[in-house]
């Protein structure tokens, strides 16, 4: 699995539970190192061992942890770059949802060896969407649920999210948009980034 994904879990655990906790987890995983490098690629087996050690150490179900990882990725100021990149997807939440179809391609534009499984948005009715997450990265749908939840806050939209089983091997996330301008979202300034 790409280092960026492993590194995301590391950043979440370290900043939420402390670096000591992360060191314990990596010791328990028996991988022989403590830091994942964002720009290197690790084997599936290494990632799985790390995730199992995280689940054991935090004593919480993995799907729940992964959803928090997704939320963390968007809402933590440490990883502001990712929120900004996602906000380029659209001017409002619905626009953003539609941009998810392009997300794996966009990710590959940024980091050419980062392969994310496909995403497909299906509009069932006005304000009612299904997001199909193709298989390939275990826990992808859980992380995406967290991302969608945090991005709704970011846009100031009120949504209900539910992981509603699977369809042709793809995990389905049901999205109900209750109100697109429920609260004042966070501002997004195109040129805020200093190069």
């Amino acid at each position: 699995m790409h280092g960026l994904i492993n590194r995301a879990v590391q950043a979440f655990v370290s900043s939420t539970y402390g670096t000591g906790r992360w060191t314990d987890i990596m010791d328990a995983s028996g991988l022989g190192f403590t830091e994942f490098e964002a720009m290197l690629v690790y084997s599936e087996e290494q990632s799985e061992r790390m995730l199992r050690a995280v689940e054991q150490n935090l004593e919480r179900p993995l799907p729940e942890i992964l959803e928090d990882v997704g939320t963390f990725l968007v809402s933590n100021p440490q990883v502001e770059a990712l929120r900004r990149l996602l906000r380029f997807g659209g001017v409002n939440y619905v626009d953003f949802l539609h941009s998810l179809d392009d997300l794996p391609d966009r990710a590959r534009l940024a980091v050419s060896d980062l392969r994310l499984p496909g995403l497909e948005l299906i509009e069932q009715a006005p304000g009612q969407f299904d997001l199909l997450c193709q298989p390939g990265v275990p826990g992808y749908a859980q992380v995406m649920t967290g991302v969608l939840r945090a991005m709704a806050d970011d846009y100031g939209a009120l949504v209900f999210l539910e992981q509603s089983g699977s369809q042709d091997g793809a995990d389905v996330i049901s999205i109900t948009l209750v109100e697109s301008e429920f609260a004042e979202g966070r501002t997004f300034d195109l040129g805020a980034h200093t190069l």
Binding site: A38, R84, A110
Partner: protein, 338 residues
């Protein structure tokens, strides 16, 4: 026939950065994004050249010159601060009614977005600017992550090299480092002296007081060798109690001999290990790189070893320079003591 208002309405949607001028070069109207550039001071009604300075092509001096440029690339600069550069293209309106000029930020878009607080609504939906901004940010973030990785790898590489060239017990250079230094000196045509030092009675220290005491003695020996030599000299631990010192640029036999004697005297001072007092000495043999027309590291090491062996044979605790006749003494059946 399309009215002027129709045209402006169309253009506002498709080209939010257009300017329409009349035949005299006065701005009749412009697209909504340019409002952000003009601020309070509206462009409408002003001479076009008062707002934008045409930088290239240089031959254009007047509005009638400008009308001649239809279809070619124009370079403008905003007259007011922050003097943003823009690209443009002009198409004349029919019947000499003026011209339609479409503008774009070109490569200065990154600054423009910040300077004028532009949002995605300021660009036409078909404009690739937003994608370009996305790419710039994504690549910057990825580049930063790569840069961090490179910095960490660089640090790890330096640490690994340091370790690979260092004898971990004494902190002196190791055999690998010695080969490296000898190669560098020989290839660079530099003269040097090579001194081989072997401790006497070290085995007794190890046997009597144990390896921990032996290690402590070696560490003390290393410190003394560093103290007795110059910063530019290379002190190497080549084996258990064997050392090599490379004196770069030092060929004076008298000085080398004095140095060796001082070193041996210092090494003979008792070394405290806990309650024990350990007594050792050392023998040394030296050869000069100038002894060979074409210096060869292996041959020079052999010569210094021969000289060391001669010093040992002569009764230990002394220093000798290499001479060819020592080689013949080597073959005599006399076991070398340590």
């Amino acid at each position: 026939m399309m009215s002027f208002d129709d045209l402006a309405g169309f253009a506002n949607q498709l080209c939010p950065m257009h300017v329409i001028i009349d035949a005299e070069g006065q701005v009749l109207s412009h697209g909504p994004t340019l409002h952000k550039l003009s601020g309070e001071d509206s462009w409408t009604g002003k001479p076009f050249f008062d707002v934008l300075d045409l930088q290239r092509p240089r031959w254009i001096k007047t509005i009638s010159d400008l009308m001649e440029t239809a279809g070619t690339k124009l370079h403008f600069q905003l007259r007011a601060a922050p003097h943003t550069r823009m690209k443009g293209v002009l198409v004349p309106l029919p019947n000499g009614q003026g011209a339609f000029i479409n503008l774009s930020f070109g490569i200065s878009v990154l600054d423009a977005v910040r300077d004028f607080n532009l949002t995605s609504q300021d660009f036409s939906p078909t404009d690739l600017t937003i994608e370009m901004l996305y790419l710039v940010e994504a690549k910057s973030a990825a580049m930063e992550a790569s840069r961090q990785l490179n910095l960490r790898l660089q640090g790890a590489k330096i640490a690994a090299e340091e370790q690979a060239f260092t004898d971990t017990l004494t902190g002196l250079k190791n055999r690998r480092a010695m080969d490296h230094v000898l190669n560098r000196l020989i290839l660079g045509g530099r003269d040097f002296a090579l001194m081989h030092v072997d401790l006497d009675f070290f085995k007794q220290v190890n046997d009597t007081y144990g390896h921990a005491a032996g290690d402590a003695v070696l560490q003390r020996v290393a410190a003394i060798m560093v103290e007795c030599t110059r910063k530019s000299d290379t002190v190497v631990r080549v084996g258990g109690d064997e050392f090599v010192i490379i004196f770069e640029g030092l060929l004076d036999r008298k000085r080398l001999s004095d140095l060796a004697c001082r070193l041996i005297t210092r090494l003979e001072e008792p070394i405290q290990y806990g309650a024990e007092s350990c007594q050792i000495s050392a023998s040394a043999g030296t050869t000069l790189s100038t002894s060979m027309a074409q210096p060869d590291a292996a041959v020079l090491l052999h010569q210094s070893d021969v000289a060391l062996y001669a010093a040992k044979r002569a009764g230990k605790a002394q220093h000798m320079f290499y001479t060819p006749h020592q080689e013949t003494e080597m073959v005599e059946p006399d076991s070398r003591s340590a």
